[in-house]
Symmetry: C2
Subunit: 216 residues, 2 copies
DNA sequence: AGCGCGAGGATCGTCAACAATCGCTGCCGC
DNA sequence: GCGGCAGCGATTGTTGACGATCCTCGCGCT
């Protein structure tokens, strides 16, 4: 049981940003901080390496992987397609209760935007996306997106800070939800793709204006 | 070094179909057949489990995972989107030499079709897709598609056997290559997506007419 | 005969010690 | 003073043995 536990906790720690970018992950230290056996630490590192969260060099150990901006853009492109697929499926499969739930998240999003809580907006937006992925009942897309998302933590609050982005994001989200509510698969797919293409653009421009958010 | 080697060879063996579906993978046997240490076998199994090629239950060991038809269709849907993205990027990035190479593969494909070599067609088609992914220089899409492909081995020769599919496949492939040659990103993306959506349909229909290809 | 149950074998998970490798530091020769 | 090399500490990779868990088979009871 300790093996899965160690993996989960180490993953959470990396995602929470408890380590510096490129910081070495020394097995002995992890044994202490996680309180699990060395074998468990090693399997956790293998899994995280396969997931792309850490880099593993033979005889030189593991370090947390720093995904570059170009790669983040690639990831966003892939995410856009997969989430557009999910939106399409969601438009086919959503129950009335699920549509209601999406509208509630949208209302919360509007409230947060009025209150000027940009970080809250970002979090609620993530909730909306996650919920649509669940409604789509598309295990493959869900798995791939979740894996891609975990590599993007470093950029998660980046795009919402672009001036005017939050408001546009809300209207795009609204379009997606309304297309799902109207049971219009093609419209839902197009709306979601448009939304995420805009996010990608926001990421590009935020990078151009402010090249490094994290110092070493 | 033995650890990576063991992973590669076990992966190749599973992809080659050396194991029965749902066959248990017993560590002791793998140590013998692969000639690597037990730790290496264990890490290989962890990686393969994360990759979706084997299923791992605690205290009950690993077995090769049998992907169901519904999941194969999900995988094809995701592949369609990602390869369409790759085709778009390839249309932007392809050099003249690379376009020439794609046309050569196409010619080979035509030759094989005329000769009635359907399996050869399938293989050459896979080569074409792989080459387009390389030309796109999109590491994220390439990684995801490669992972998805490895889970589809069981179905790889399934769609080409649908009557008339091979000929249609050739004309669709031609459309993709010509769009790339014309440096037309949108057309390339659309053509690739159309092609793979047709493959998905062929998979669906082949399943309906012939539900089980592999007996236990 | 059918069913519950315990013993045994098979297999996996964990641990501690050992071997191999890497990076660094300090020494030596030029 | 500087470059190269040997030795050393730190860290990872590997091995073998031990304990834990699960499945199966056979026994006894009803």
């Amino acid at each position: 049981m300790s093996s899965d536990d160690g993996y989960e906790r180490l993953r959470a720690a990396i995602l929470a940003g408890d380590f510096q970018p490129n910081e070495r992950l020394i097995e002995a230290d992890l044994i202490e901080s996680l309180g699990v056996s060395r074998a468990a630490v090693r399997t956790a590192l293998v899994r995280l390496a396969h997931e792309g969260l850490v880099e593993h060099e033979r005889n030189r150990g593991a370090k947390v992987r720093l995904v570059q901006v170009e790669e983040a853009i690639e990831i966003m492109q892939a995410r856009a397609l997969l989430e557009a697929l999910a939106a399409r499926e969601a438009a086919v499969r959503a129950s009335d209760a699920e549509v209601h739930e999406l509208r509630q998240i949208l209302a919360e999003l509007r409230r947060l935007l009025d209150a000027g809580d940009l970080v809250g907006c970002s979090t609620a937006g993530a909730t909306l996306h996650a919920r649509i992925l669940e409604i789509a009942r598309h295990a493959t897309a869900a798995r791939l997106v979740s894996s891609l998302n975990s590599q993007m933590v470093r950029f998660q609050y980046r795009t919402i800070l672009v001036p005017g982005r939050a408001a546009r994001s809300l209207s795009e989200h609204t379009a997606v939800v309304e297309a799902i509510a109207a049971r219009a698969p093609a419209a839902a797919e197009a709306a979601m793709r448009l939304h995420l293409d805009h996010v990608t653009e926001a990421l590009r421009s935020s990078v151009a204006s402010q090249p490094r958010a994290v110092a070493s």
